[in-house]
């Protein structure tokens, strides 16, 4: 396993620089505070020392100075005064008698405020009496102390700064070696890592850390990272596998749904056609049986020589009428049998369409409906549409609705045809036994012909067939379902009324 190498990072961007700068600032501030405290402490001590020296002048020199003044020994007086100003920080001394300056030694600037002074009365005991001879005033300066302490302060600050800098650099190097470079390595590991591919494990180079005795926090962190990455890769792999299987399953399901939908539509058409075929078979057989019976009757009467023109005319007339009935049914069948996917628009005269097809639909729905009527609402009645598909849609819609009738009651249906010039739609509205359906409900038609209603009614075959024909004409089916009472309105866009 290859060990990951540490990349060179610019110092300015590393965590070490931030640590060092922070360390410098905090350490320098703290160091400065303590140094200034120390400075003030020393200054105070030095001032006290000056005060002590001033006080010491009285103790040490007052007596001898008083004597030398009493004896008017100017030489001795001068020596004493010079001895006084030789003391540290004392710069000026004077002797006055009632504001008359008798002696002075040293110099003092009147502008200087950095000095301290102390006056002592010089008293001589003569013949048991204390006699005030003069006043001694001593001046001391604090400038020397301040200079000395300032120098000390500067030196102290400089040495502290150098110490802090050296400590900081050493700390930074140590942190860099022990922590920061590992963090950088871990960062690079995550930057370079691609969870989608298998990759080398994270390993830290800690061979030079001779003080290390066993696994520490960094080792535990690396172990945890490796474990997490490994788990993520396993998890991702599993998810990819699951996703692939789901995709495959989904694809399979889509194909199956398409197949089933196609089968359902086919089955719907077949069911509709099958149901219709049963009715048609019966409806054609019955008139055929009538014609057959009438023909045999004519034949029989002929053999018995009982056939007269009146009977013959009556029988043949019945035969012709019955044959015409068969024609109306076969005409309807011809239209229904058309299975072109391409629409063939032709001019439809709606009144003729109704006249031509009503009888055929009445015949083939006779056993589900006691009464079927088509009504044309006064409106423009010529437009372009595929007549065969319109007929198929009408027939399937009637069949669909018939399934909900209560068979114990007589059933009726009226289909109203209206050409809505505003929306350019042919509107077919189916009124029927839905007695409890109120008019206000019929105004709230919804476009719903979904799975729910068809499942509940168990008529999904017919409904899918109805949908299929509606889609062909881009028709909208509006629908209200109140238990057994179903109200349907179909709106078919027409190419243009003429």
């Amino acid at each position: 396993m290859n060990k990951l190498q540490l990349n060179a990072q610019s110092f300015s961007n590393s965590i070490g620089s931030t640590t060092l700068i922070g360390f410098f600032i905090i350490a320098f501030i703290l160091s400065s505070i303590f140094t200034f405290i120390d400075y003030n402490r020393k200054l105070s001590t030095e001032i006290k020392n000056i005060e002590k020296r001033l006080e010491g002048v009285r103790v040490s020199f007052a007596s001898s100075l008083t004597n030398s003044l009493w004896k008017l020994d100017d030489e001795q007086t001068k020596i004493i005064l010079e001895s006084i100003i030789n003391l540290d920080d004392l710069i000026y001394v004077e002797v006055k008698e009632k504001d008359i300056l008798l002696h002075r030694v040293g110099q003092i600037s009147s502008l200087s405020t950095k000095h301290m002074s102390r006056s002592f009365p010089l008293v001589l005991k003569y013949r048991d009496k204390n006699r005030h001879i003069a006043d001694l005033t001593v001046y001391a300066t604090t400038e020397n102390v301040a200079k000395r302490l300032n120098n000390e302060l500067l030196f102290s600050l400089l040495s502290e700064f150098i110490k802090i800098f050296i400590y900081g650099i050493l700390t930074l190097v140590f942190i860099k070696l022990v922590i920061t470079r590992h963090i950088e390595l871990i960062t690079n590991f995550f930057k370079r890592s691609n969870i989608n591919e298998s990759q080398e494990k994270l390993t830290l180079n800690r061979s030079f850390e001779i003080w290390k005795r066993g696994p520490d926090d960094l080792d535990h962190l690396v172990d945890s990272i490796n474990e997490v990455v490994e788990n993520l890769q396993v998890e991702l792999h599993e998810r990819k596998k699951t996703q692939k299987s789901l995709e495959a399953l989904n694809q399979n399901l889509e194909i199956r749904v398409e197949e089933k939908t196609s089968m359902l539509l086919d089955a719907g058409r077949i069911a509709a056609v099958g149901e219709m075929a049963g009715g048609i078979a019966h409806e054609i057989n019955s008139p055929l049986a009538t014609i057959h019976g009438l023909a045999r009757r004519v034949q029989k009467l002929c053999h018995q020589k009982k056939l007269n023109p009146e009977i013959l005319n009556s029988h043949t007339e019945k035969m012709v009428m019955t044959i015409e009935r068969i024609f109306s049914i076969t005409n309807a069948l011809q239209v229904l049998s058309k299975s072109n996917n391409e629409l063939e628009d032709s001019i439809i005269y709606i009144d003729k369409f109704i006249e031509k097809n009503l009888r055929g639909i009445q015949e083939i729905t006779k056993f589900g409906l006691n009464s079927l009527d088509f009504v044309l609402i006064d409106s423009p009645h010529k437009f372009l549409l595929d007549e065969a598909v319109l007929y198929q849609l009408l027939y399937v819609a009637i069949n669909y609705r018939m399934r909900f009738f209560d068979k114990s009651e007589p059933s009726w249906m009226r289909v109203e045809f209206l050409v809505d010039t505003d929306s350019n739609n042919l509107v077919m509205t189916f009124f029927d036994n839905a007695k409890s359906l109120e008019d206000k409900d019929k105004e709230n038609l919804v476009e719903s012909f979904g799975e729910k209603d068809s499942k509940e009614k168990g008529s999904n075959l017919i409904s899918s067939s109805l949908r299929s024909f509606a889609e062909k004409l881009s028709a909208k089916i509006l629908f209200i379902d109140h238990n057994k009472d179903v109200f349907i309105q179909i709106r078919i866009p027409i190419k243009g009324h003429i």
């Binding site: 019966h282 057989n285 049986a289 009757r297 029989k300 056993f367």
Partner: protein
């Protein structure tokens, strides 16, 4: 069995077909009654002594199967109960369970029915 003088009820919603079949049985000397729905047929069966019944299955107002059920419910005694159809979803066996004697397909062969009656 001699069928002359026996009575038969023909039930079909096709009025002309009903008439044609009636002429055939009338020629054989039978008393023929006609009905065009199951409901009207049951009224005649209750009112008259009918020996034979020949009924269509598919009819708008009370079909042949409903008629069979009503005959069974009302315990109406018939010698034979024939059915005729152009097309039906019902099986022969199911109809026999309801009391039907024999099923004939349209167009009818009247002689076949007569033969069956006479063989009884």
């Amino acid at each position: 069995m001699e069928i002359s003088g026996k009575s038969i009820l023909i039930v079909d919603d096709e009025v002309d077909l009903c008439q044609v079949i009636s002429w055939e049985f009338e020629d054989l000397g039978m008393n023929v009654y006609q009905a065009h729905s199951g409901n009207s047929a049951i009224k005649i069966l209750k009112a008259e002594a009918i020996d034979f019944l020949l009924t269509d299955i598919k009819m708008p107002d009370g079909d042949g199967v409903d008629l069979l059920k009503m005959i069974k419910e009302c315990s109406i005694d018939l010698t034979s109960l024939y059915m005729m159809t152009g097309y039906t979803d019902y099986s022969d066996e199911d109809l026999k369970k309801l009391g039907m004697t024999k099923l004939y397909r349209k167009p009818l062969d009247i002689e076949e029915i007569v033969d069956h009656m006479q063989a009884l």
